[in-house]
Amino acid sequence: MPARLILRLIALLALVSVSLPAGPAQAHGFGQRYDLPIPLSFYIFGAGATVALSFIVAAVFLRSAHLPHAFAQVPLLRTPRSRRWASGIALIVRVIAVGYFVLMIAAGLFGVQTPLRNIIVASVWIVGWVAISLLSALSGDVWRVLNPWDTLFAAAERIYAGLRPGRFLTLGLRYPAGLDVWPALVLFVGFAWMELVWAGRDVPARLAEAMLLYSGLTWLGMLLFGRKTWREHAEVFSIVFRIFARFAPVVSTGRRDDGLMLRLPAAGLLKNHGTSSALMLLVIALLATVTFDGILETPLWARVDVAIIDAPDDSVLWTAFNLSEAGALRLARTVGLVLFIALFSVVYLSACKAMAAVTGSKWGGTFVLGRRFVFSLLPISIAYHIAHYFSYLFNGGQIIIPLLSDPFGFGWDLIGTAAYRPDIGLVEPLLQWYVAITAIVVGHVIAVWVAHLIAMTEFGDRTIALRSQGPLLVLMVCYTMLSLWILSQPIVETNPGS
């Protein structure tokens, strides 16, 4: 039983790694950004353009909102030969991704424990989270191919089928329908917590252990319920990257004979019948997390941190809760994250309730409309993601270049790039400001456009569609303003990990 063997191996590795001593936390915080806040003039321009364009879109697009080709898709790979090439390339990418995955874990477990000298930290946060989520949003669902858990399990299935013809590796249990994507929602909140709060987020060994633990969980789930079922309900990265990829211009049909299709960007946000409440909440949690990431670096949150750091020695934090200072800072962030997700949900559902009130009961209540419109907010979130991470991706992301030569931090020089020093001036503030403002305004316009199209197809009636968009438009303008406000705030960082 190869799968059982794999699981045993994982358990063994996990045990070994837990017993490994972790290095001391480093003072050089990982993921430091040196962005200047956007100046007042950019802020005012962005805000003005947002409001003005909202009305222009509402006025212009509603006249001709019936765009049949908004849903059109055309095949990218039109000959069998090009499709063979594509699947060949996909296979190579899969193998490379698995190799990289193994390298990350090995480096995390056995490499130097300095965050900036071990490839795992930059690979998880810069490549794994920032780059892949943006790539998913702007190109297509690349995670389908990159997903090492999927590739490895598929390989195990092939091997098993070869060894015991006619039998399946997976147990094929029925996935409880009521569970829906709730496991993914829980896992995503856990992942968000790890990204924003967890002390081990920049400790290579801790990250590697977390990845092994998650591998075990994923493979167990795939073993029980089947690879595809688990991927579509509980493998959190498959689900989250696919949410981002709904925005993308390229989509895979999943069928072998037509392969990749080209469509209008954001067109994937229009097809959302069958969105469940769990998926709706997952999207909201995703939006909230992306924004909360920015809030944590604002002077507003720094005030919370400072209040904790400067709390008197007899404060309840230390006496009653027996917290360390870092523990108290992390607790505040944890509570903040949960409250922020709750706040986003409440605000969004309130807007939907208002929408239900102005359109009348015929069209469904708060939750029906909530599920129908939730993806229209995604462009604003993607825009903020770009604005927030554009400079970091190119300035901070260069760290991968030397790390590829020396992934363990042992002083190797495998491909001759070990001496490369990142140029933190590659993306200058001026360029970053232009990119940020353009992304925010364009993202907002697309969001308004998507919401209008959904309203037109949903309500059919122009008057009702127009009326329904009031509450949503107010929500979208507020959401975009929040993004702009965060970008205009100077980055203030406290590092609870140290």
Binding site: A27, H28, G29, Q32, Y34, D35, L36, P37, P39, L40, S41, F42, F45, A49, H69, A72, Q73, V74, P75, L262, R263, L264, P265, D305, V306, I309, E325, L329, I424, G425, E428, P429, L430, Y434, I437, T438, V441, V442, V445, P490, I491, V492, E493, T494, N495, P496, G497, S498
Partner: protein, 150 residues
């Protein structure tokens, strides 16, 4: 034929979106060149090619006691930050990667050419000397250096 038509329509919509983005960028540039911000940027770029800027900062009880906690300079300036601390410390300017060991009440100079624009934290990584190195409370930077583009 149908597919070609859809291709054309998608290309048309793409081009409309890109034209919109270009118009937006143009408007943004126009708005900025008219604003006082743009004007002051333009002026400073020609008036001062490379200035020496000196700042004095006193650190007491691990906080800025005298001097600014945000130091603003223009890209291209030569910056000198004279630090006086009340306990031994090792300070580090991130980004520019300048480190300095300081003894109590002996002024030390953090010097660099502000070639890269951005906002850079100046942090004390360690307080105290030798064995009596005390644990640092909170990873809070002492101050920030903002290098504004010219």
């Amino acid at each position: 034929m149908q597919a070609t038509k859809i291709y054309l329509r998608i290309a048309l919509l793409w081009s409309r979106v890109s034209i919109g983005a270009i118009i937006l960028l143009g408007l943004l540039t126009l708005a900025l060149s008219n604003s006082s911000f743009g004007a002051s940027l333009g002026a400073s770029a020609y008036a001062q090619s490379s200035q020496v800027r000196q700042f004095a900062v006193a650190i007491q009880k691990r906080k800025v006691a005298a001097g600014a906690d945000v130091i603003r300079v223009t890209q291209g300036d030569s910056v000198q930050i004279v630090l006086t601390v009340d306990e031994a410390a090792e300070v580090h300017l991130h980004g520019y990667d300048v480190s300095l060991s300081l003894q109590p009440n002996v002024p030390g100079k953090v010097e660099f050419n502000a070639k890269i624009a951005g906002r850079f934290p100046l942090e004390a990584h360690r307080y105290g000397t030798g064995e009596q190195t005390s644990h640092q409370r909170g990873g809070r930077p002492l101050l920030y250096v903002e290098v504004h583009p010219r």
